[in-house]
């Protein structure tokens, strides 16, 4: 009986002195003075994922610029959704590392589930899942990426470690809207730590 009475008094006191409100406000106010964690995407900044990230595919070349893909079709076989098409052809002009090169290499990103089995299967590390994650498009057929597009180096090279926010530029191009990062201008290297 006695205890109950004491709690009631404390409650009234808290209310009179706005204790809970001040507690809440203190969090808000702390953020007001601390550094911002918001990424100003897509206008100024962009998050570059870590190396282990699995985004859109890229096809690689060796140091001499020859295509690494030998059109073995193992990625096609490994893919659980059947979204890769590879048709080989013979070409001994030095276009590829072997005289077997892809005539067609395309992937349908609408079907892809980014499991990475294709890159696991590839004997020459020709196909890699890159760090391009802006895949929105107006037309489904635009989601099919062909060899030429895939051979163009992605903005984030494979060697770049990632896991940071870098400055970026918002662009409208023929292929759609793009946010072009400048990986040499990191904005925030320890973004996760702040969250």
């Amino acid at each position: 009986m006695k205890e109950k009475k004491r709690e009631g008094v404390l409650d009234i006191l808290k209310k009179v002195l706005f204790v809970d409100i001040l507690k809440g406000l203190s969090v808000t106010l702390k953020y007001n003075v601390s550094r911002s964690v918001t990424v100003r995407y897509p206008d100024e900044e962009k998050w570059i994922p870590y190396q282990r990230f699995r985004g859109a595919h890229t096809l690689n070349r060796d140091e001499e610029g020859r295509e690494l893909c030998v059109a073995c079709e193992l990625c096609v076989k490994a893919c659980p959704t059947g979204c890769i098409t590879v048709v080989p052809q013979e070409d001994d002009t030095g276009r590829g590392i072997a005289d077997r090169v892809p005539k067609i290499w395309k992937v349908d990103l609408v079907r892809c589930l980014f499991c990475g089995y294709c890159e696991d299967a590839c004997p020459t590390t020709a196909v890699r899942l890159g760090r391009d994650y802006e895949l929105a498009c107006f037309n489904r057929t635009d989601a099919v990426r062909d060899r030429e597009r895939l051979l163009r180096p992605q903005e984030v090279p494979e060697g770049f470690e990632g896991g940071m926010v870098v400055s970026a530029r918002f662009e409208r191009t023929k292929e759609g809207i793009r946010v072009k990062p400048d990986i040499w201008k990191p904005r925030d290297k320890d973004w996760w730590k702040k969250v």
Binding site: V70, C72, E73, Q89, D92, A98
Partner: protein, 831 residues
């Protein structure tokens, strides 16, 4: 030969097998799989790869099971630790020099080395030394073969198959040890049969198909079991497509009587299906002679009008003997029931009488005869034809069986052939004198042994010398053959199409068979036919005198000669050429050209614009093998089912659909049918087909006798002026029927039409292989390169019958038994 049984134990399980069985086969029977590389059924044993080693109780060393025959009470172990370790070590050894470029290799996914390493191999290699490389780039050995020696596992299967089965022996092993390379002499381009057997048997990606190079992976392919359409050997093959393009034809060793065997036509002729030259829509001829595409409805309406306008007496049809049984059955039913005529044939080349005689003599209307049984006879006689080019796989089967069993092989033919080298005796007959040859043989037989048999009296009055003078064969040779025949326990006779073409020898053959049946007992006759379903066409009653199942027709019609004559006299209002190019094949081109131009309404249904097609009023597209279901009956009487690998493109239709719809348009109760329905009707209506079940079975016999065979025993050498050549025709090794000229691969192999003469004739003319000569007869001249055939006598020339624009039938005179031509060297002007 006595074949006792042997009982032994394999992994503790008791098995009983025939004496002489290899441990490998016995183990398979007991259900144990032993890995192999160099072993291949139907090749000589080698025992070099040591993959198949097994442990035998009481023997210190492991033994190769692929060359060790079983012994009574043997105790064999195939799965002990030592065996497993040895297998793994052998594979590690092979891999130590293997480039392991599986991602690039066309064999990847169906490679025996991959499979065995996966199953039995080490998971890690220990060799760090550099691998031997024979060359950096794959090299091309022929228009169909590309070679990578680095991947070779030295099993010698290629070398052995080329020598022992194909009979060319153009491959050999160069170098020793790790430097050994199986290839052609100095790696030069091969001038061989291009059969691709070396590719088929190679367990790894060392011999590879050039046309299939980097086209697909085995798991991309959709396949269907089909039957080769290029000759009546009727090899089973599997067609495989990627997307809509057929990319290869393979012989599945587990499927079909031919096992792994195919010739160049079967293995590389599949690309006709992909040809751009195919007829794609129905075409109707305009007044100005050009063709305009029309719809099927309109085309069939035109056909109906023409049939009704012509009436039964003035209508006729010729169907190709390469169609399926279902199509041929429906064709004759349509002609007989709807059009109301028996004017029909399944060939453009010989008369109905000659085919009746051949059917009777060669046992066509009887049940089937297996080529293996025939080839395994103590004495095998090949008559009347050029087996090696007409029926290449029959040639392979004869060769390897003869090599293994050493039975007596005798050849009597007008032209030299590859099989000559396997024959104990090979004689050259004058063209169209097979009858005289057999008569001489009969006489020689009765000289040696008294036989009293009906029909033999007349033989007694003959002399071997006189008859051998006609057929051009030495009398001693004939007596030698007769002696062999009399001591044989079994005889196989293979009778070729010369007997049909020249209406020659069927009566004598029947007599010979009866005589041998009385003395030897076990006699088999195998007809050698050049059209894939000739036997089926006869079975189905596509014949003016015969209804399905060899029942004599109520009312006889005209055969192809009669049809052409009728047309020539202006008496033909409607002619339906279903897949048959009469203009290109009938042995009198000028005559048939005139006749066809006088036909009221000519309908040609074909896959390509054949020689006859431009003369047609209506051209209909036609689906070909690989695009239709159905059954085919090969020369042995083996009924084989085939499946479509893809649908016909666009407006292309099967003959079954065309005939069904056309028939239905004219008579309401003529059904539009599917192959299965027709097959059921065939089983009911055609004697011998009722019991046929499954994918492959021999047909049964039918009771009716089709011809009385009474030899006249009067013979003459076909006329030929001094210096002239008898002109023979037929299939070429790379061209069967007329279809194959549209195969890009086969066209590349052959390069074009040739004229073939013997080496003595070439010497007389002063020409060498490939030199140009001018062939001339009946006012036509043709310039052609020469091909020299060892063993063909002077005075005999050959031109393939398959080339549009170089048609051999221009030189033929159908009133002469064998036409002759003059051949002279062609010199360019100024030389």
């Amino acid at each position: 030969m006595t074949t006792g049984l042997v009982t032994l134990k394999i992994n503790g399980r008791e098995v009983t097998v025939r004496e002489g069985t290899l441990i490998l086969d016995a183990a398979k029977e007991a259900g144990f799989d032993i890995p192999t590389f160099c072993y291949q059924a139907n090749l000589s044993g080698l025992g070099s790869c040591r993959m198949c080693l097994v442990e035998i109780e009481g023997q210190r060393k492991l033994q190769p099971s692929c060359i060790t025959p079983v012994m009574p009470d043997m105790n064999v172990f195939t799965e002990t630790d030592t065996v497993k370790m040895t297998r793994s070590a052998m594979l590690e050894f092979l891999l130590s020099n293997h480039p392991l470029d599986c991602p690039v290799c066309d064999k990847g996914g169906e490679c025996e080395l991959q499979d065995l390493v996966y199953k039995h191999g080490p998971r890690k290699g220990r060799f760090a030394e550099d691998k031997v490389r024979h060359h950096d780039k794959d090299y091309i050995l022929s228009p169909v073969i590309v070679k990578n020696a680095n991947r070779c596992v030295q099993c010698m299967r290629c070398v052995r198959v080329c020598k022992e089965v194909v009979g060319r022996g153009v491959l050999g092993a160069v170098g020793r040890g790790v430097h050994q390379e199986e290839t052609s002499f100095l790696r030069t381009r091969l001038d061989c049969d291009h059969c691709g057997m070396c590719i088929e048997v190679c367990p790894v990606g060392s011999f590879m198909r050039l046309p299939y190079r980097y086209r697909a992976r085995p798991w991309d392919l959709v396949s269907a079991r089909s039957v080769c359409g290029y000759c009546a050997t009727g090899c089973r093959l599997t067609l495989e497509r990627r997307g809509d393009t057929v990319v290869r034809a393979i012989a599945n060793p587990e499927d079909g009587f031919n096992r792994k065997l195919l010739c160049a036509r079967g293995r590389f002729g599949y690309d006709v299906m992909n040809s751009e030259e195919r007829i794609k829509t129905p075409l109707v001829k305009e007044r100005d002679g050009s063709f305009r595409p029309v719809s099927w409805d309109r085309a069939l309406e035109l056909m109906k009008e023409a049939i009704l306008r012509a009436g039964p007496e003035r209508a006729a049809g010729v169907a190709s003997a390469t169609l399926t049984n279902e199509e041929l059955y429906l064709f004759q039913k349509f002609m007989r029931k709807v059009v109301g005529t028996a004017n029909m044939d399944s060939t453009s080349r010989w008369s109905a009488e000659s085919s009746l005689k051949f059917m009777e003599a060669a046992g066509i209307r009887g049940g089937g005869t297996s080529v293996y049984q025939c080839a395994e006879s103590d004495v095998v006689v090949v008559l009347g034809g050029q087996l090696s080019e007409e029926n290449p796989v029959t040639d392979y089967i004869l060769r390897y069986i003869n090599g293994a069993r050493r039975n007596t092989l005798v050849i009597a033919s007008p032209r030299g052939m590859k099989l000559d080298s396997s024959a104990q005796l090979s004689v050259r007959t004058v063209p169209a004198t097979t009858g005289a040859f057999i008569a001489a043989l009969l006489k020689a037989l009765v000289e040696k042994k008294e036989v009293s048999m009906e029909g033999m009296e007349a033989v007694k009055g003959l002399t071997v010398e006189e008859l051998s003078g006609v057929c051009g064969v030495n009398a001693d040779d004939i007596r030698w053959i007769a002696a062999r025949l009399l001591t044989a326990g079994s005889v196989g006779v293979l009778a070729g199409t010369d007997m049909l073409r020249y209406d020659d020898g069927a009566e004598e053959l029947a007599l010979l068979v009866r005589l041998l049946e009385n003395t030897v007992r076990d006699v088999r006759v195998l007809p050698l036919l050049d059209r894939a379903n000739q036997r089926g066409a006869w079975d189905m009653g596509v014949h003016p005198y015969l209804e399905p199942g060899y029942r004599p027709a109520q009312r006889r019609g005209h055969d192809v000669h009669g049809i052409v004559e009728l047309a020539d006299s202006g008496g033909l209002g409607f002619l339906y050429l279903l897949g048959e190019d009469v203009l290109g094949l009938y042995p009198d081109r000028a005559g048939v050209e005139r006749a066809l131009s006088r036909v009221g309404f000519l309908v040609v249904q074909d896959s390509f614009m054949t020689g006859s097609a431009p003369m047609a009023n209506l051209v209909l597209p036609m689906a070909m093998y690989g695009e239709k279901h159905g059954t085919m009956t090969n020369q042995e009487g083996r009924v084989q089912r085939m499946e479509a690998v893809r649908r016909p493109e666009g407006e292309v239709r099967t003959p079954l659909e065309t005939i069904g719809r056309a028939g239905n348009l004219i008579e309401k109760d003529f059904p539009v049918v599917r192959p299965g329905d027709v097959w059921k009707e065939i089983q009911k209506q055609v004697p011998g087909y009722g019991e046929v079940r499954g994918m492959e079975a021999f047909k049964g016999a039918s009771a009716d006798q089709v011809a009385e065979l009474k030899p006249s025993f009067s013979y003459a050498v076909p006329e030929r002026a001094e210096g002239e050549f008898w002109l023979l025709t037929g299939n070429h090794l790379f061209h069967g029927a007329r279809l194959s000229q549209h195969s890009g691969i086969l066209r590349e192999l052959l390069g074009g039409c040739v004229v073939e003469i013997g080496s003595t004739a070439a010497q007389r003319l002063g020409v060498g292989e490939g030199d140009m000569v001018e062939v001339e007869a009946r006012g036509y001249r043709e310039r052609l390169p020469v091909r020299i055939r060892e063993g063909t006598p002077d005075g005999v020339a050959f031109m393939p019958e398959n080339f549009d624009g170089k048609d051999a039938n221009r030189f033929f005179d159908k009133d002469r038994v064998v036409s002759t031509v003059r051949i002279r060297p062609y010199k360019k002007q100024g030389e």
